[in-house]
């Protein structure tokens, strides 16, 4: 499956992307994920101030027919939430990499080292699907 995987991001096995900007990380879902889900109609993410933990669920994204958990690539405090997406979750389908869900202040920078590079993620998508 041909898929769009930007070179400046890091990735999880659950198809989230992370954009690192200093000690803050913006988190979204990949183009592969939005395409697999289909029409996204609902998004639930934590409020600013909440704590998220690496590899555990921090919210859900729902398409018309399915509910999928979102897994955090890093641990830390939520410092921003993309409010636009709550009323227009279809923007994730239109532009998966332009649609960050939350921004997290990273507690432990070693979390970032465990994420996949674009090349590793490409290989992961090829081998597992």
């Amino acid at each position: 499956m041909a898929t769009n995987i930007p070179g400046n991001l890091k990735y999880t096995k659950e198809h989230e992307w992370a954009l690192v900007d200093g000690s803050t990380v913006a988190i979204g879902i990949t183009d592969f994920a939005q395409s697999a889900l289909g029409d996204i109609v609902f998004l639930e993410v934590p409020e600013v101030g909440a704590e998220v933990k690496t590899g555990t669920t921090f919210g859900v994204v729902e398409s018309i027919k399915s509910v999928s958990d979102l897994y955090s690539p890093v641990s830390g405090e939520v410092v921003a939430k993309n409010n636009d997406l709550e009323s227009s979750p279809e923007k994730i389908n239109e532009d998966a990499y332009g649609s960050w869900l939350i921004k997290v202040k990273v507690k432990n920078s070693s979390d970032l080292e465990n994420l996949m590079s674009p090349e590793q993620y490409q290989e992961f998508c090829n081998s597992s699907h």
């Binding site: 289909g38 029409d39 729902e62 018309i64 027919k65 509910v67």
Partner: protein, 356 residues
């Protein structure tokens, strides 16, 4: 092993996402569920539903046997009509829901759910005593497509020969090329439309004809949203071996005035345990299995089918409520991931289809 309909290669060519359903590899969506739903509400779309089962009753007692098998009234309906009905056991529980098509005197087609073909046929065969008609399972010989949406009549009348402006729930045999197809003005979307039965090659040509006419191919996901928007029950969800027609809001299909039918004695006592309700959520999407709560946050039932309505852009659900817990104040909440969301009890279907 999973089964494939004769249109499987067509679906693959169209880029459909294929999923296993009732033992079959079926197209769940082609492009977008939303676009497919809207195509059918606004113009026309077509489904491959060849996985469904076709039984024939042929002979003098075909109508009488069908009438004895099901709860609804087959004998009173004129030839050329189709009748929706549950198929029940002696104790009143639902084996399946189906449509009986009165094709011609002494010739009846019964269309059943794919997942229940074997169960239904075994049941019907076991009751085939004392009726002068032949019973056959022709599911392997027939393909079935459903053309649905307000433009359906206009489209189909250019494709098949001499299509009459059939009444809703009527059936007629029409020519298509040199072949005959069974055309019924029925469907599972609430819109005007037709279900067309025929042999595999004929239905494949018909499907291809629809594609050249730019009819939108639609998958099972859109079909499920469409049927839930207009509040049609689905076997395995609202209907099952555990409930009777009254439990599922299908009391209107039980014709106790008929002299004799399987399940009559049990159903005459109105053994109701559940109430099927329609719930509309301003926020949150209800899903099958989510608990339904009363104002005191006690569990009173569960969602049997739930989705986001494409037309309303709101969460909609059927929920089965224990009758003894049905709240007098009509306050319902749906527990979504351990959070209660307010749900409005709705009396009419969420969406009004445009069928005749």
């Amino acid at each position: 092993m999973t089964l494939r309909t004769q249109l499987y290669e067509e679906h693959v060519k169209l880029g459909a996402k294929i999923v296993p359903f009732a033992g079959w590899d079926m197209p769940v969506q082609y492009t977008s569920v939303k676009d497919e739903v809207l195509a059918i509400r606004n113009s026309a779309g077509v489904f491959d539903v060849s996985h469904m089962g076709e039984f024939f009753l042929e002979g003098t007692d075909a109508e009488a046997f069908a009438d004895y098998l099901v709860t609804n009234d087959i004998l009173s309906a004129p030839t050329g009509k189709a009748v929706y009905s549950p198929l029940c056991r002696e104790n009143g529980t639902v084996i399946d829901d189906l449509i009986v098509y009165k094709l011609s005197p002494g010739r009846v087609l019964i269309c059943v759910n794919a997942s229940n073909i074997e169960k239904d046929f075994a049941w019907i065969k076991s009751k085939h005593v004392g009726f002068s008609c032949n019973l056959s399972d022709r599911s392997q010989d027939y393909s079935l497509v459903a053309l649905q949406g307000p433009a359906s009549f206009k489209i189909l009348s250019t494709v098949v020969q001499d299509l009459p402006d059939l009444e809703y729930y009527s059936v007629h045999e029409c020519g298509f090329g040199s072949k005959q197809v069974i055309v019924a003005r029925t469907g599972y979307t609430g819109e005007d439309g037709f279900e067309i039965f025929g042999d595999h090659e004929t239905i494949k040509s018909l499907w291809q004809k629809f594609m050249t006419l730019k009819v939108v191919p639609c998958g099972l996901a859109a079909r499920d949203v469409l049927r839930l928007e207009v509040c049609y029950p689905l076997y395995g969800h609202e209907l099952s071996d555990e409930v009777n027609p009254y439990d599922a809001g299908l009391g209107w299909t039980v014709k106790l005035a008929k002299p004799k039918f399987i399940g009559k004695d049990a159903l005459a006592k109105k053994p109701v345990k559940f109430k099927l309700v329609k719930l509309l959520l301003e926020k949150g999407i209800p899903r099958e299995g989510y608990p339904v709560l009363n104002a005191a946050r006690e569990v009173i039932g569960a969602v049997t089918s739930g989705t986001m309505s494409v037309v309303l852009n709101k969460g909609i659900a059927f929920a089965r409520i224990n009758l003894d817990k049905a709240p007098a104040d009509e306050v319902f909440l749906v527990d979504i991931r351990q959070k209660p969301y307010e749900a409005q009890l709705v009396k009419k279907p969420f969406v009004t289809g445009g069928h005749k």
